[in-house]
């Protein structure tokens, strides 16, 4: 099978599925009816002229891939050794490429929906990356997306046995144009492979973002995700992990910092299909203004997946009277030899903690900021890359009403 056939197949799947509506259980809290036209319209790529080098994380020593409105910009990119990077555009021409697997779609995938079918059918470009066996990338791979219109991108990243790499996926906007990013990133982690994945979303204020991360993990592989939601008007991301072989482990960390009328919805699904696998999940949301957060975390332990260890925690902080959160941590277990737990909390800042700080001479605003930061930091603390972490902290501060003060306080 070649990629072209796959795309044709995806078109058929879309014709059958259509776009999801609020009547669909998985889209109950997220109304995407207004995105229908954008989802089905391909904009002709207009290169953004703004100097793109100043956008994104600075002082980051990394290999860079830049996508400007969905098109790969070779001139701005620097590629590592030991890694094959093919553009999807060129894959289209080739028969039986091993990366073709990353582009198949059966329609049976967990959380399959019309957007995903459209993504597979229309993706104009994307990076098909293969990290060779036993290769350990010395620097992170920074995939920078800058967009202000409708884009469809599909990345596939294949880790061969014992490959190790850090992937930073960054979605940036430049202005207030309204568009829709329909992006998906597929990972396959071979035996013993290790992947640290940062997924930062800072699209423009009118941009909508429908994303998907799909991970298939083989024996003893480890996948770590840090998803940070800061920008965009409406964002939906489906994170689907399949622990397919013994000893695989994953950890999913998520943080939303939302204000205004922002809407962010993450659906995560972890399938434990093999014995001795571990999954950890920690999601936190900070909601201000009229923002609306949605979190659905599902862990499925299949028959035979003995000695499964799974923990999930979801904390939600509401800062304003009009903010709203809908959360649903789900467990589906078909096996008795497991240890599974989940917890969810919703609340506002603790009066006693505020009082404690104020009694020590910290202004009420600063005390609030400090506690909010501490709440969010529980997720950020697990980020090992200091530069990325610092960048995210600053970007998150900027969204809080008295961010500068807090910066000083913590400096």
């Amino acid at each position: 099978m070649n990629v072209a056939t796959q795309r044709q197949h995806a078109k058929t799947l879309f014709a059958q599925a259509g776009l999801p509506t609020k009547r669909n259980e998985h889209w109950k809290y997220t109304d995407v009816s207004h995105l229908s036209d954008m989802a089905q319209t391909q904009s002709t790529a207009q290169t953004i002229q703004t100097p793109t080098t100043t956008l994104g994380i600075q002082n980051l020593d990394a290999y860079v891939l830049v996508f400007n409105n969905g098109a790969f910009v070779e001139a701005l990119s620097s590629l590592p050794q030991g890694v094959d990077i093919t553009s999807v555009a060129s894959l289209l021409a080739e028969e039986n490429h091993k990366l073709t697997d990353l582009f198949t779609l059966s329609g049976e995938e967990p959380l399959f929906n019309g957007f995903l079918a459209l993504n597979a059918a229309n993706a104009a470009d994307g990076a098909a990356i293969c990290i060779k066996a036993n290769t350990k990338l010395d620097k992170p791979l920074y995939i920078k997306h800058i967009s202000n219109q409708n884009i469809t991108l599909r990345h596939g990243i294949y880790f061969e046995a014992f490959a190790e790499a850090e992937i930073i996926e960054h979605y940036l906007g430049v202005d207030d144009n309204a568009g829709l990013s329909n992006v998906s990133t597929n990972f396959i982690l071979g035996t013993g492979a290790q992947c640290k994945h940062y997924r930062l979303q800072q699209e423009g204020s009118k941009q909508s973002h429908i994303g998907r991360v799909e991970v298939k993990q083989y024996q003893d592989s480890n996948y770590q995700m840090h998803a940070v939601e800061l920008g965009g008007a409406l964002t939906r991301a489906d994170i689907v992990v399949n622990l397919a072989e013994q000893g695989a482990s994953c950890s999913l960390n998520g943080l939303y910092v939302l204000a205004g009328r922002q809407h962010v919805d993450h659906h995560t699904r972890i399938d434990h299909t093999a014995p001795h696998c571990t999954s950890h999940e920690n999601y936190r949301t900070v909601l201000d203004g009229r923002s609306h957060g949605v979190f659905n975390g599902k862990v499925v332990v299949h028959e035979g997946a003995i000695k499964t260890d799974s923990a999930q925690s979801n904390g939600n902080l509401l800062l304003s009277k009009h903010a709203q959160i809908d959360t649903k941590p789900e467990l589906e277990i078909y096996n008795d030899d497991v240890k599974c737990a989940h917890g969810a909390t919703v609340g506002q800042l603790d009066d006693k903690q505020l009082f404690y700080l104020r009694s020590r001479g910290i202004s009420e605003e600063s005390a609030q900021e400090l506690l909010t930061f501490a709440f969010a930091d529980a997720v950020l603390a697990s980020m090992r890359n200091e530069v990325v972490r610092r960048y995210v902290e600053q970007a998150a501060f900027a969204k809080l009403p008295h961010g500068e003060e807090l910066e000083e306080l913590l400096a």
Binding site: L318, N335, A341, A344
Partner: protein
């Protein structure tokens, strides 16, 4: 060491003690459902026109609905035209005046089940308990009516209440669960035959526990009872419900509706020990238990508490809920559900916070063994104006056997920042270390399992009324029966 698997097997193979059939002449409608059947039920009960119209309205609405499929249960859909909607033991026309008029076979049935229909002390020395016994489609006896009447409490079959207190029934019937609420509630509204009616007037504390005992006996029938409990300002009532059915190879439908209304400062405690026939070890037969239970805390500082011990039924589909409308009202849900063999249960609760400073607590314990599957499905919704709402949820599952399943689907929807919610869930099997600890102190393995299971359910058993706590403990022990000695 006796193998763990053996214990699990024994746990799964518990016996059903209430599975006998009472051989009694009954007056049963032929199977089928249409407007004529509803008219006939209504005529049997000599109902006023408004109630018939109400039923017909529900029926017409029901025709437009389809059976829900979202629950995590797998079953053959019921043919609603193949079951009979009315079955009553033949008795004297005007109904029994006193217990002496009740068919001795019926008395025997209830005696066998351990339900005292004679007005005697229940568990010698313990508080008395008033019982309304519902046999298939009708209530056959209600005890302590006189004593309750002296206290101002109305406790009678709903069919009698329709005759004697039509205004009260008309005012409250369907006010919590409207006719078209869901598929099974609509069906129930159309064809409900009997059930209990309880009214506690202002300031009255009901002097004894009230209890209804449901028994399905006839073949090919469905039981559709409707219970309505109203507690006026400052009233208090504790109500218990028990259920059993004979062992049969076909599936029988039980679709009940329970409505609770609590006004200012009122308190209603509603406890259920559900032990319908669960089907045999291959999943043949058993009751489909599709029940709509909802309580409305209409008044300030009112409180509704649901406690359930679910051990029976082939399929359970039940979400006792609280609508917390009044400020400072409290909703509680305590549940132990045991599924073994091929039983399936999809159960949980809904806590809808509307009033200010409303509090709800959810404790749900699931035990799943054999090839059973069990789900907790719950909703906690905090409305925009529910300032200071508070919820605590804990749902734990214990798995016995590698073929069983336990699932959790909790929905949390919050629209007010002052709300405080906590949700916790765990799933595990009995810890090897716990078993080892008990055994090295001289307990046999089955005693250890028994003890651990009981400890697991303790939070819920503790809030059961004493009489039922005894029964619940006994039921759990029956589950483990055969593993001792």
């Amino acid at each position: 060491m006796a193998s763990n698997a053996e214990i699990k097997e024994q746990f799964a193979e518990r016996e059903y003690n209430a599975g006998f059939v009472t051989d009694i002449d009954s007056d049963t409608f032929p199977p089928g459902l249409n407007e004529d059947v509803i008219r006939a039920i209504s005529a049997k009960k000599d109902e006023p026109q408004w109630l018939l119209d109400w039923r017909l309205e529900a029926y017409r609405h029901w025709l437009t609905m389809s059976e829900p499929t979202w629950a995590a249960v797998d079953f053959k859909s019921t043919d609603y035209n193949a079951i009979s909607y009315y079955s009553a033991p033949k008795s004297k026309k005007d109904g029994p005046e006193s217990l002496d008029d009740v068919d001795p076979k019926l008395l025997e049935t209830y005696e066998k089940l351990g339900i005292p229909l004679r007005e005697q002390a229940f568990l010698a020395g313990v508080q008395n308990i008033a019982v309304d016994a519902v046999f298939d489609s009708v209530s056959v006896a209600t005890t302590f009516k006189g004593k309750l009447k002296d206290a101002g409490v109305i406790f009678m079959p709903i069919s009698e209440a329709v005759q004697e207190y039509p205004e009260l029934v008309k005012q409250y019937l369907g006010s919590v669960v409207p006719q078209g609420d869901n598929f099974f509630a609509a069906l129930n509204s159309a064809v409900f035959t009997d059930g209990s009616f309880v009214f506690i007037p202002k300031g009255v504390r009901c002097p004894m526990e009230l209890s209804t005992y449901f028994r399905i006996n006839a073949m090919n029938t469905g039981q559709f009872e409707r219970t309505l409990i109203i507690a006026e300002e400052g009233a208090y009532v504790s109500y218990l419900e028990g259920c059993t059915a004979p062992m049969r190879d076909e599936n029988q439908l039980h679709a009940a509706v329970v409505e609770l209304v609590a006004l200012d400062d009122a308190q209603i405690k509603y406890a259920t020990v559900q032990n319908w026939y669960p089907g045999d070890e291959n999943g043949v037969g058993g009751i489909y238990n599709f029940v709509t239970k909802r309580g409305e805390c209409r008044g300030k500082r009112s409180k509704i508490s649901w406690t359930q011990v679910e051990t029976g039924s082939a399929i359970t589909w039940k979400y006792p809920s609280c609508v917390l409308k009044g400020d400072d009202s409290v909703g509680e849900f305590y549940s132990v559900a045991v599924t073994t063999n091929c039983q399936q249960a999809d159960t949980g609760t809904k806590m809808i916070h509307i009033g200010k400073n409303t509090t709800s607590t959810i404790i749900s314990k699931g035990i799943s063994a054999g090839r059973a599957s069990q789900s907790y499905r719950g909703l906690v919704r905090i409305g925009k104006d529910a300032e200071g709402a508070r919820n605590y949820t804990q749902c734990d599952s214990l798995l016995l056997g590698d073929k069983c399943g336990a699932h959790t689907f909790p929905y949390v929807e919050v629209k007010n920042p002052t709300a405080k919610l906590e949700h916790e869930a765990t799933t595990s099997k009995i810890g090897e270390d716990q078993l080892f600890y008990c055994q090295q102190r001289g307990l046999s393995e089955e005693d250890a399992v028994n003890m651990i299971v009981n400890g697991f359910c303790k939070d819920v058993f503790d809030v059961l009324p004493m009489e039922f706590a005894v029964e619940a403990n006994r039921l759990m022990e029956v589950s483990l029966e055969g593993s001792v000695g």
